[in-house]
Amino acid sequence: MKFSSSLRLEADVLIIGGGLAGCWAAITAAQTGARVVVAEKGYCGTAGVAASAGPGHWFIPPDGTLRRDAIARRLETAQGLGDADWMETIIDRTFRTLPTIASHYRYTQDDNGKVRYHALRGPEYLRALRQKALDCGVTVLDHSPALALLRHGDTSIAGATGVSLKSGHDQWIVRSGATILATGGCAFRSHLLGSANNTGDGLLMAADAGACFSGMEFSAFFTIVPANTTMARTMIYSFARYYDAAGHELERPPGSHDNSFLARALKKGQVFCDLSGVPEDIRRQLPQISPNVPITFQRLGIDPFSQKFPVSLVGEGTIRGVGGIRVMDRHSGCGVPGLYVAGDVASREPVTGAISGGGAVNAAWALSSGCIAAEAAVAYTRRQRRSLKEPVTLPEYEAIAGDSTAVEHAVQREMLSPNKQYFRTASSLKQSSQALEDAWERLSLGDVHQAGARARLRHQELKALTAVARWCTASALARKESRGLHYRCDAESVAMPAHILSGGLAKPWTRSVPAKVPS
């Protein structure tokens, strides 16, 4: 297909995705004097899952044995798949870098007059990051989803192209010395707060460029929300008790992140939450801690502290899960020359291992991998000194499928079923795998050639989330044991911890590689 007009830009570093990781990457690269362009699918400042949440960060001062102890605890929960060096790197980077946002974020003092630099409210944080990036001279393209990476003849990355949803142009083309993917994880269009744009676009582009993935099986993660809402803020649920429709209290296993007991109960019927145990002072403070939580209840006409209310589970996929593009070196490279990865699009196995990093480690990873990718991208482009005029071939877009809803639902039936994901068996995974292959095939039967920007974007998103579902499922089949977020009802015991790598578009592949033995 042909677009009628194109916006063409040149940059030293192109960053795809303007959320937490992309913004820190942009600021870091621009501060070295590099020309930086951020291409964001939505609006840089409200983009990414952090924008509607409130990330804490893994934030430990270099005092005594504090860092060493924190790393030792994390290595234990990582179940053999963590990397102490990476943990040390992100702790140090986050501690040094995060307070610099005070130039644009209005920190408040706690009851002791102290500023807690690691805890930021999402909307204010992302607004501050956008402004800081603009003040550093970053060019921001809002409403500009990327659809394909551009490649040189030698297959190194030469920039990217995509569509514009709001400008006078239909298409944008950015030629860059280096490119950073910071497009986030994939929650398969569940109703997880702020995640509808997180369809795994970066993973699809990376696979196309030859990168591979790691830890995709660690994607079975579901969070409690008031039924039918997106409000996946977890704080008040730490005081919750749960009841079935008959009023019997559900037994909650230890370990706050494991919601499989709710999955079991929800399979039988409605589950109700009781928040009467939330202390009075916290109830009063809630509107100023997480302002979006009370408005949700208020608008549903529920007093959550005196009335039991129905809850449901929303899938977090690789967002609160772990898997993503495998980081191949200490510079956030992914094995493709000129391409770097930052934030949730990258596998967080080095810092979280087999379990979720939760908000704190994931935010520290997003910030740190963003900064590290930016420095590596700047160094690469200065080393290469390649002309941005070198001819590259623009991608041929495929025909899109007229009816995409059926494909989306087919993928969601597998990936957003808490039961299928929490209680995996070889046979359930093979069934999922077959359903996903059918969905993938249906996507390739496109017949619409002249599609507008929005329709082309939706097709690309659907293709990406279907591809991510296939890698998650193939990896879950390949890991025959239970480990961390991945639970197999038919688990075999495996002595040595290993990483499950995956990749491939036409046919997903997996490979098991032994984990690095800690020195």
Partner: protein, 114 residues
């Protein structure tokens, strides 16, 4: 999902069109934007936060539409609650609306302690 832009409050500044991460809204010359793609709304409430005249109402149900009536909404006091509780814009001078997000880790710690 986003349900209503209250016409009598909207100044057609189009900031909501700009900040919406899902491109749900379309601008109109001198008039309130149209909710052009309601089903694409991700129910993140962020448009409300950026609307200085509190003209937007997002219903928490992400699965189906709940059409709203402007007069009832005006009377409900629900408009602008998110922006006020966040202490944005004119509310930033109110000490009692100060950002207390830093309490979150203390709350988690308290829930864990017996």
């Amino acid at each position: 999902m986003i349900e209503l832009i209250v016409e009598t409050r909207c100044t057609a500044c189009n900031i909501c069109v700009e900040v919406c991460p899902r491109d749900v809204l379309s601008p109109r010359e001198g008039q309130p934007p149209i909710i052009a793609y309601q089903v694409d709304c991700q129910t993140c409430f962020l448009c409300e936060l950026y609307c200085k005249t509190d003209a937007i109402y997002v219903h928490p149900d992400a699965t189906q539409a709940h059409p709203q009536n402007a007069e009832i909404l005006e009377a409900s006091g629900l408009l602008g609650e998110y922006r006020r509780n966040s202490g944005w814009d004119e509310w930033s001078v109110h000490e009692e609306l100060r950002n207390q997000h830093w309490r979150m880790e203390d709350v988690f710690r308290r829930a864990r302690s017996p």
